[in-house]
Each structure stands twice: as C-alpha cells, then as structure tokens.
Amino acid sequence: MAHLENTAPIDVRRLNHWFGTGDARKQAIWDVNLTVTRGSLTILMGPSGSGKTTILTLMGCLREVQDGSVQLLGTELNGASEAQSVALRRRLGFIFQAHNLHESLTAAQNVLMGLEVHGRGNPAQQKAAAHHALRLLGLDDRLDYLPSNLSGGQKQRVAVARALVSNPEIVFADEPTAALDKDSGRTVVEMLKEMGRQRGTTTVMVTHDNRILELADRIVTLEDGRIVKDE
C-alpha cells in the first residue's frame, strides 16, 4: 500500500491552509486528504468559496503549502525550494479560468511559450508542434491572430493548446469549459480523457459544468474547505 501511495502523481495529506494575517487570518482548507491515481480524470466540485481553486493551486505548485503534505510527482511541496517548484511546474499543464494569454503574442507564439520553457527541440520543430496543437483544437486559420482578435472560446482553446503542447504529466484545469460552447467544451474534456488513456496523463479539474460530469472517473465535492463527498 505504501508503495502505491508513492507512485500516485498527487498525494495530499492533512492539508490546511489559511489566508490573511493577524485578526483577518481565516482558514480556507481544513484537513484535506486526497490521493489521485495516474491517468484518471478527477473533478472538484462545490459552491464558490468552498476552496476548490485553492486546493488546485496548492497541488499545482502555484501556492506555497503552509501546513500538511502535498506529494506531487514524488516531490514534497511543503518546504520545496524555488528551483524544485520551477522544475515541477514544467511537468504540469495549467488551464486557467481566464485564458491568461499574452496580449502581445499571436496564438501560435502563445502556444510556443509552452514549449520554449523546456528548451528542447529546434525552433522549427517547436513551431510545427505548436501549429499541430492548434490544428487539433480547430484553430488552423487563427495561428497568427493576436488574442484581441479571437473570440472568448477561441482564446480558451489557445490556452488549452498551450497547456497540452508539451505533453504534461498532470493537467490542472480551473473551469476550462466556462468560455466554451457545449460541443467544444466536451471536445476538450474528451481530449484530456484520451490523453489519460494513451499517455497516462492525470487531470484534475475544477468545474461547475454538469455537461461533463459524466466523463469524470471521480468527483470530489468540497464545502467550506472540507471534502464532503468523494465518489
């Protein structure tokens, strides 16, 4: 059993988290335990303010762990150095609620940023990979558009391509389908699920979107910073 726990890409133990300082200090996460298995699609649900995004960013190495333990791809995040965090983040793919595309870069250049961080491959290969990723998401004719000339859904698909282009081991997604119509939202989640089957990519997703719940392997429900349902 201990061996199995070590190989889980994400293993959260007795995680607590607080926001604010002094009198304004407020506990947001209460004693959360969660083990995510490789290649699975886990959905975090719950009302707003329940701590879904906080847990996602703690697991995703975007927020410093204050108390408890998060094992991410075999590395303890509590007390991890900046260099360890940087190295880990390169193995992850993040899809944010807001697309967070760089306004000065074209769609293809934004996706390229997801590859350049690894520094591997020659520029021509990287460019080809970026174009391929955008084509898979139906953006062949938008490669050289700046984000300001793309629709909300198109921007979100560029952000998805940017997160997936480097074949991450874990994909964290925060409301990825909010800006997408039903079909393309489902297409994105099916892609993630397919990546899980083929390459063992693990996905953790925060969503309110009932349309995609049926695709989940596991649905974890949070309320007031605690896990109240795990099915």
């Binding site: 983040r89 992850l92 944010f96 940023m113 961080v117």
Partner: protein, 391 residues
C-alpha cells in the same frame, strides 16, 4: 525585427513584442528616456562649457611655467606678483625667457547703447612667442601705442562687425576714455565672467588701467630652454623664490589646478556639478517609472509564465531586453535634441557647448545601466510571489 531577435535570443523576443504591441506607450517611453538623456546632456554640457572656458584661457599662451601669487587660484584672482620675481627667475639655469602678464576686465560701451566686457591681457610687446601662433603673429603690431587685438566672437557684437580688420584698416573704438585701434582679431569667445578677449602690449595695458603698476603684473610667464624638463626648472625656481609670496607651476598643472578649483570650490562649479547629479537622479527615476509600470501591467502574463515553469532569470531577461531597447531608442532622439540644444545655447551665450563622443558614449552606457538596474528592481516583486497570488 521579430525573426532577427528570435534568432539572436534563441527564444521569442517577448520584451520587443510587448513594447511594440502598444505603439503609443512605446513612443511615450522613448520620449521619457530621451528626455532623461536630454536632462543629463544639458547639465553635462553646461558643466563642460565651464571647464572648457576655464582651460581655454590657458591655451592662449605658449609658455612652460606660470608664476602666480601664492593666494591666486585662477588667472584672475589673488594678489599681483612683484616684477622682480621675473628678473630673479631669468637668472635660474634652464629659464630661457619670460614676460609679465597683466589681466583686467575692460568695459566697452558702444554708442548704440550695447556693451561688452573684454578680458584684457597685457604682455611685453616682444612676447609674441608667448602666445598661441594665431595670436602671436599679429601681436608684433602692438608695439604701436593704443593698438590691440580684439575677439571676433565677442558676445553682444554683430557677427560681421570685425570683418576685414588689418593693420592698414583697423577697427577703431573707444574705451576708458582712450581711442583704441584693433589691428587684428582672434577667435576665442567669452566665458562665464567676460564676453570676449582683448590683447595689448603691457604699455597699452598700463595706459588703459592707470591704477596698475608696471612693477606688479598678475602673473609671470616663463619659457624653458630647449630640451630641459619644465618640472625640473619648477623645482629650481621653488628653491629660490619665496613660497609664501609666489607659487610656481607648469602651465598645464596650473590649468588643471584652476579646473579643480572651479569645479570643487567655486559656487558655479558646485552648482553645475549638482545639476549633473540631479539630472542623473531624475533620469533614473523616469526610467524606473517606465519599466516598473510596464512590469506591473504585465504581471498577470508573467504570473502565467511563472506557473508554466519559467524561472526568475527569464523575467529578468525580458525586462533587460526592454531596458536595452528603450535605452537605445530613447538615446537617439535624446542625443539629437541635445545637439540642437547645445547649438542654440552656444549661439545664445557664446559658451563652448560641444557634444563630444566620450560624453555621448558615457551617457549611453549610463542609460543602459540605469535601465537595467531599474528593470532588475522592478521584477523583484515577481521573485517572491506565488503565481496564484498574481492572477
């Protein structure tokens, strides 16, 4: 531009793309850096003009050693020197020749109501070889009573007023109740304390300034014999002449000491030096404002890059890229505007404002480092922050 920079950096030139994305802001930033450059250039120019006008007076003379009163810091302050020091000096081995040097300011009131202050130099009438060749050649004519050489660049005088002046067609004017004939001209220009220069023989000088005595010139100029080191002769003179009444320096040492005195002890020098400092500080603040605003405006995008696994070095790279682009693009208009302003100021004041390559390069390097340091400081708020707190 983008493909070239991509090739150079081995990555997308985010800094350039970011800057060129918003043309209006880029132009404002370039204008800001250019203005900071202009500010520093103007202060340096005025400081440089002060220095140049100080040393220019020494360059008029072709002498090796300057003997001055012990309390003199410049050519125009301090007590007079006893003429007997000249005769004493001529007896020292290695001293070839000498001349007294009289200096005073002459107010030249013209009939049209304008006036100029002429810094007047009186030397022995046979001392032609103690002057720079352009002046020395005409100085020989000054053996005649009340003849002078006058400065073509005298401030307040119409540009062509002194054209065609020769010994046969002199320019006649009146000053201090005497009628003077300018039989030749020189082109030096004024400084901070006078509008132009005037050269006369010591006899003419003493007639103009009746209160001055032929036994008490301001300075004594000496030439050493060929092949003898002036510094050695200075030592010999110091051994003989009393240190409590005269000081003896080579002419170049005297010029350097004057320059240092003007810049560190005189109010004008200190004020202009302070102006350079303020100009540099204001320039740094402007540049810092531009770059820190730029970082703040892209914080969300940088946070995304940070979440993707880019390290602090990458963000420093972007900001340095921007810093260098802004420094270079801002420097060009700043330099051009400064050259124009120098020309305008020089025309208006007659002061020697010139843009030297050394000054331009120093300001460019200063701008590059100010931009880079500002950029490094501006990215510090990224370094400690969790990406999740920056969205």
């Amino acid at each position: 531009m983008t493909p070239l920079l991509t090739y150079l950096f081995g990555r997308l030139p985010i800094g350039w793309l970011q800057l060129s994305h918003n043309r209006t802001r880029l132009l404002a930033a370039i204008a800001g850096v250019g203005f900071a450059n202009l500010l520093v250039f103007v202060q340096l120019g005025i400081m440089g003009a002060l220095n140049a006008s100080t040393t220019a007076a020494y360059a008029l003379f072709n002498a090796d050693i300057l003997v001055s009163s012990a309390d003199a810091n410049t050519l125009t302050d301090g007590s007079n020197v006893a003429r007997q020091r000249l005769f004493q000096a001529l007896g020292i081995p290695g001293v070839d020749d000498g001349t007294p040097l009289f200096i005073a300011n002459l107010e030249w009131q013209r009939t049209d109501g304008t006036s100029s202050t002429l810094q007047t130099f009186g030397l022995g009438a046979d001392a032609t070889h103690f002057l720079m060749p352009e002046i020395g050649a005409d100085f020989g004519h000054l053996v005649l009573e009340d003849t002078v050489l006058i400065d073509r660049s005298t401030r307040g005088l119409a540009g062509d007023a002194l054209e065609g002046v020769t010994p046969n067609t002199p320019f006649v004017f009146e000053a201090r109740d005497r009628t003077l004939s300018a039989v030749g001209t020189l082109d030096v220009g004024g400084g901070f304390s006078a509008d132009g220069k005037l050269f006369a023989s010591d006899q003419t000088f003493l007639r103009l300034f009746g209160t001055r005595s032929s036994g008490a010139p301001n300075h004594i100029l000496l030439k050493v014999e060929d092949g003898i080191d002036a510094a050695v002769v200075v030592d010999r003179l110091q051994a003989v002449l009393p240190a409590d009444s005269v000081k003896i320096n080579t002419l170049s040492d005297a010029a350097a000491a004057d320059l240092s005195y003007q810049t560190t002890e005189r109010p004008t020098g200190i004020i202009f030096g302070f102006g350079v400092l303020i100009g540099v500080l204001v320039g740094i603040v402007i540049v810092y404002q531009i770059l820190s605003t730029d970082v703040a405006e892209h914080l969300k995008e940088y946070a995304t890059f940070k979440a993707m696994g880019y390290s602090q070095g990458f963000f420093l790279g972007i900001v340095f890229e921007e810093a260098i682009i802004l420094a270079v693009l801002g420097f060009i208009p700043g330099l051009l505007a400064s050259i124009g302003l120098y020309a305008g100021l020089a025309a208006a004041t007659g002061l020697p404002l010139e843009m030297g390559a050394d000054r331009a390069i120093a300001v460019l390097l200063g701008t590059l480092s100010a931009c880079s340091i500002s950029g490094a400081i501006a990215t510090r708020r990224l370094a400690g922050a969790d990406p999740a707190d920056l969205f």
